[in-house]
Amino acid sequence: MTRTARPYYVPVGNEEQVFKAAFRQGLSVMLKGPTGCGKTRFVEAMAHDLGRPLITVACHDDVTTADLVGRFLLRGGDTEWVDGPLTRAVRDGAICYLDEVVEARQDTTVVLHPLADHRRQLPIDRLGITLDAAPGFCLVVSYNPGYQSVLKDLKDSTRQRMIAIELGFPPADVEEKILVHETGIGQETAAQLVQLGRAIRRAEAAGLREVASTRVLIAAGRLAAGGLPPRDAARAAVAGPLTDDPLVTAGLIEMIDVYLADGRG
C-alpha cells in the first residue's frame, strides 16, 4: 500500500482514541450515526493512521453469507474457491468495513459472531476450515439508528460483541471548517450553509426522509464552488434530495432563501 494523504477527518470527541484502542485490543467496532455524518470518512482516516488496508462492503438486503465469505466456482472440471471480501480481510489482516450492516439479512450477520468476539476466527463451512484472523484484522460495522425498526435491527447477540462509537453531526465551527476544506468555498458561505443545515435538523418535518447531513451540505458547497449562486446550489443539493413532497420542498426552499445570501445581489 502506498502512503497517500490522510483522508480529511476532524475529530469531535475522543472517537479516534477509542477506535485505536479497540484496534490494538482486537475488538470489533460498531459506528452509529445518521447518514452522511462522516462514518465512512472516519474509518478511512483510521485505516490510514493504523497503516492497514481497508476493505469496504456496502450491505444490502440480498447480501448472503457467500457474498462475504466466498464461494466455489467451476472451472472446467474442477471447482475453484474464491475468497469473499471478509475472508480476504481475515487472511490479510485488513480492516473490514461493513457499511449499513442492518441492511444485510440476519442469517448473514451471524457469520460475524465468532469473528467479532474473543475467538477472532472465521469458520468456512464450505472448505471445512477455520481461519484465525491475521494480526491487524479489525471488523467495523456501521449502523444508522434512524432506520431502526422491528423488521431491521441488529441482533443483540451481534451488538454485544462490539464496542460502539456514536458519531453525530459535528458542531457548527467544525462543520464550517469541514465545508471550507472539502469545497474551497469562503468562510461566509460555509457559515450560512451550516446554519441552514442546523435549522433543517431542528425542524425534522414529517415529510423529510432524512435531515440535512454534512454530506449534502458539502455537495451544496461544491456546487457553489463550481459557480452556482448559493441558493441554487442548496436547492439542487439540499431541497431536492431530502424530499419528494411538494409542500415540504416549498418549506425547504423558504428556509434556503432566508438563510443563504442571494449570490446575485
Binding site: A66, Q195, A199, A203, P246, G251, E254
Partner: protein
Amino acid sequence: MTMLSAAIERASTDPARRLGRFRLLASGIAGRSLDVMPAAPGERPWTDGMTVFLDDGASAPGQVAALAVQASLIAAGSLEPGVARRLAGRPTLARRYLAVEGHRALAANEDLLPRPVRSLIDRHTAARADSPAASLALALRRAVVADPPPSFGVIIPGRLLAPSDRRQALSAPEAGPGRWRDSVRREHDEDAETDGPGHVPAFFSSPGAGGGALAWLLRRVLRLGREPAGGPLGAATSATTRPAPRAGWAPPATGAARTLAGIPAAERHGSTYPEWDVNRGRYRLNWCTVNEIDPRPEDGVTLVVPDEPALRRPLARLGLGLDRCHRRLQGDDVDIDAAVESRVDALAGALHDDAVYVESLRRRRDLAVLLLLDISGSSAESAGEGQTVHERQRAAAAMLALALHGLGDRVALYGFYSQGRSAVRLVRVKSFNDDLDTLVMRRLGGLVPGGYTRLGAAIRHGAFMAEDRGGTSRRLLVVLSDGLAYDHGYEGRYGEADSRRALAESRRRGTGCLCLGFGAGADLVPLRRVFGTAAHATVARPDQLASVIGPLFRAALQSAGRMA
C-alpha cells in the same frame, strides 16, 4: 421541479397554504414542530404555542421577522404556562414583557436566526434580563417604557393556556401553583368520558387553535427514533418497538392498557379496541366495538369488472420473497446435480450446460393485502359521469383484488361503516381464505352505502386481520375512502388524531397503510394529513389506478416497521 413547487405555494390563493411554506422554518427556529397559519384580518402576529399566526398581507421579510420572534419566544421558554398565567388579563404588562423578553429570546437563539433578523436584536435590552422571570420582573417594575417594535407582534397570554388554566388565571391571577394543580386534577377526575357530538372541548373550538396544534402533538408523540438522544417519550416508545410480539398494541401512554393478545380468539366477532383521545393525550380503553358481519349475497347483483392488465405490471414486482433457485449461471453454491450432469455431458462430448449454481432469488410472492372499502353514507354521493363515489371505489377495489389475486398474493376485501363507537362494522366481502369467485363479486355488488366512518377502529381491526390471517411477512392495508367522514363523538381533529395514531400503530407493527380516493369535491386535506402525502393518492377514475399504484404500494411497504 424544486423551483416550481415553491412558486406554486407562494402564488397559492389559499392563505393557509401560502403561509404553510414557512412551517419548516418556524420549526427549525423553535426546535419543535410548529404550524403557521394566517392571523385574522387586522391582527398582529401571535402564537398559541403550537401555531404561529402571521399577517398574510405583510411583506415576506416582515413575515420572516415576526416568525423568528414568535418562534424564538417558544424556543427560549418565554411563553411557559407559569409566565402566561401572570400575564393573563394584563395586556399592558404583556406588551412590556415582550419588549424585553423578545430581545432576550432572539439573542439567546441568535446562532439559529437568519441574518436579516439578527439586526432586530437590541443588545442593550437583551442584556438586561437573563431569563423569562427576569424579564417579567423588569416588566412588573415598569422599568421598560418603550413598546416592542411592531415586527415583534404580540403575546396573547389567554391563548397560551389550556381552558382550565385560563379560567383559573382570570379568576385569580395570583393563584399559587399548588392551587392551580389541584383544580386541574379535580376537573380531570370529574370529567367523565362523555361520548356525544356536542362534546367539543373549548380549546379546540377556539378560533386560534389551528390544525397545527394537533398535528404538532401527534408528531411529538408519534415520532420515534429520529433523535439520537430521544426525549422521555422517544425512550418509552422505542421500548415497545422491540420485537416482543403484540406488545406494540399496548398504548405507550398507559401502561395498564389491554393488549390484543388478551382478546380470546372466540370473541373475534365483537372485538374491542382502544381509541386515542387527543384532548387528554391518552387512550380510551375498550372504547370501540368492531363486529365482522356477512352481507346477504342474495341481495347482490354480480359485479362485472374488467380485468386490468395494466394494473398487474406495477404490482408484479412488489412483495417478492427469497427462493433458492437451482441450475443458475451464478449463485452462492454449486448445484451438485447440475454440476455432475454437466461434467458427464462434457466428458461424453455432448453440449454441456454452465448453469450449475444455486442462487437465492426474490421470486416467491410474499404479500398480503387487505382492502378496506368505505361504505359510509357519504360515498353514495355522485362523483360525476353518472356514477357515485361508492361505485367507483367498488370498481377499484374489485380491480385491485383481481390483479393481486392473479399475481398470487393473499387478498381480503372488507367494507366498513359505523354507527357510534359500539357499532363499527366490517362487512366481509372476501376473507383471506375465500376464493375470488362470483359469490364475492355478488357480495361486493350488494353493498349499500350507509352509516358513518370511524376510521381508527376500522384500521385497527384491519391491521389485526392482516397480521393474524394474512400469513406473510409483508402486509398492506389499503383504505378506499372519499374523505374523512365522522361518527358520533368522532369528528374533526379528534377523528384525525385517532386515525393517525391507528396508522402509526399498524406501521410500527409491520403493516404498511395507504389510502386511495376517487372523484373530486371531497375534502382531501384531512386525509392527506392523516395518511401523509406519500401514502395517499386521488384519481378520477379507477382505470387510472395503474399510474399511481406502484410507487404508493412500494412506499407503504417501506414505511411499515419504520416510523412514518
